[in-house]
């Protein structure tokens, strides 16, 4: 570990620093590992940050402060109140603004010399190469598998390093996927989990400081790729558990048969990542039947025999209880199949109607024969359309 790797910035690109810049970056210049040359490389560097959320916030703030010359930011989303618990680049007055606009203002406030390039779009197979080409480093702060594989593949095809960070509840992962020097994301995970297995942060929650730590680690790795120096997280996966306060480190090997960075690669261009990640219905798979909150209310009012199953964990039911529902947590479906009456309709609910789909699939796999229905948009829809006294969360 820790092999030296060269700077991603070519020597021919190095600008001179003004006296003001020398004063501003004095604490970097005093480090022999960075020094004048490293700071000039930072000034020349173009870094693309994909996502300006929990991970993108510390990435953008620290890279702006460090004097990275050009910061590209990609996000199509708008700031919401529930972002502010962790996305510290945005503030209360930014609610409903595009995230890229809010992020640009903060970056400029920290360092007006940074050239900010806004990409207010969803990264896709159609635009990724065009957007990413010309950047020296890409930092991945997205929250979904299709974009993770897209960013990985585009970086491999363009030959640029992908500084990876990912979070879930209290756990984070960080690495540098740089196919020239080591493994890529596909070497580690050749394929993603099926949709629904790992809940998103919107469903599973996330400790606010976790992306702060992981995104800051990513920013450090970006800086070292630019200045050159220690190989850092190339070939290593850092695991961080913020609750137990534990760091672990795992070795990553390049997969010789990796379909995109291996010797006989089979992927030569970007593919359809929604399909790759199973977000389109598989051939032959029966679709999950759903009903709206209004339809459920009508059936309850009509006195229909229905069993309502709340698949949320106890702490989540405490936020907004659903009256009359039987609690069976998602992870216990198969082993509690005998508690169902398969002769009457069963309606499944969770926060937003996604994990409940997974519960239905688990029961089907376990041999359930009765009718299974999903409450569309979950208890949040019930709070929105039926019971205004109930909180949405």
């Amino acid at each position: 570990m820790g092999a030296r790797i060269g700077s991603v910035i070519d020597d021919s690109r190095l600008p001179e620093l003004s006296n003001d810049e020398i004063s501003r970056y004095s604490r970097h210049l005093l480090l022999p590992e960075i020094g004048m040359e490293g700071q000039r490389r930072l000034r020349a560097a173009k870094v693309l940050i994909v996502g300006t959320g929990g991970l993108g916030a510390p990435l953008a703030l620290y890279l702006a402060a460090a004097g990275v010359g050009t910061l590209g930011i990609v996000d199509f989303d708008f700031v919401e109140a529930s972002n502010l618990q962790r996305q510290i680049i945005h503030g209360v007055r930014d609610i409903d603004r595009p995230k890229v606009a809010s992020a640009r203002d903060r970056i400029k406030g920290i360092n007006p010399d940074v050239n900010v390039v806004e990409h207010m779009t969803r990264l896709s197979s159609g635009n990724a190469l065009e957007i990413m080409r010309g950047y020296d480093v890409v930092a991945d702060g997205t929250d979904n598998y299709p974009t993770r594989y897209l960013v990985n593949d585009a970086c491999v095809l363009l030959g640029i390093p992908n500084v990876y960070g990912s979070i879930f509840q209290f756990e984070g992962q960080a690495s540098v996927f740089y196919a020239k020097e080591g493994p890529c994301y596909r070497c580690l995970y050749p394929a993603p989990p099926p949709p629904g297995l790992v809940p998103s942060c919107a469903e599973g929650g996330v400790m606010g400081v976790l992306p702060g730590v992981v995104g800051t680690i990513q920013a450090g790795e970006v800086i070292k790729l630019i200045t050159g120096g220690d190989g850092g997280l190339v070939g290593r996966l850092l695991l961080f558990d913020a609750w137990r306060m534990k760091f672990r480190e795992l070795r990553l090997e390049k997969d010789p048969v990796c379909p995109i960075c291996g010797e006989n690669r089979s992927i030569h261009e970007l593919v359809d990542y929604e399909q790759f990640c199973g977000l389109r219905p598989a051939q032959g798979e029966a679709p999950v039947e759903s009903l709206t909150a209004l339809e459920l209310k009508a059936r309850l009012d009509a006195g229909d025999a229905i069993q309502i199953i709340d698949i949320r964990e106890p702490h989540e039911r405490a936020i907004a209880a659903f009256p009359g529902a039987k609690p069976i947590p998602l992870g216990q479906m198969a082993r509690r199949i005998d508690e169902f009456d398969q002769d009457i309709d069963a309606v499944f609910l969770c926060k937003i109607g996604q994990r409940s789909i997974f519960a239905i699939r688990a029961l089907r796999e376990a041999g359930y024969k009765g009718r299974l229905l999903n409450l569309q948009d979950g208890v949040n829809a019930w709070a929105r359309d039926i019971d205004r006294g109930m909180p949405q969360y």
Binding site: I167, P193, V198, C201, L250, R251, P281, S290, Q354
Partner: protein, 101 residues
């Protein structure tokens, strides 16, 4: 008895436990005893061909079992065996699972 470290993403299937005692002297035997004890986790660990699913890595100490014999990798007393699944969280709110509605 070796123990298996369960990451947050899979704890819903192990009654919230972060560490589970498991029987066996290979990684495969250990994981199989985990799946016997917690049947709901089985479909997430094994594919239809009986092999480990591609979004789950298993590490004994710092090393992936990919390079040490896969599920046949021996496990000794005191080894820490960890499941390391892919996680994706970062920025945006959940995306809809298309095609289901």
């Amino acid at each position: 008895m070796p123990s298996l470290l369960i990451p947050t993403a899979l704890r819903a299937f192990t009654d919230g436990k972060s560490e589970v005692d498991a029987e066996g002297c290979t990684v495969g035997a250990l994981v199989s005893s985990l799946a016997d004890a917690y049947p709901d986790i089985r479909q997430h660990l094994y594919g239809e061909d009986g092999g480990l699913r591609p979004f789950i890595n298993i590490y004994v100490g710092e090393d992936s079992i990919k390079g040490t014999g896969g599920l046949d990798t021996p496990v000794a007393e005191g080894d820490s065996v960890m499941l390391v699944p892919a996680i994706a969280g970062g920025s945006r709110r959940a995306r809809a699972t298309r095609g289901d509605r």
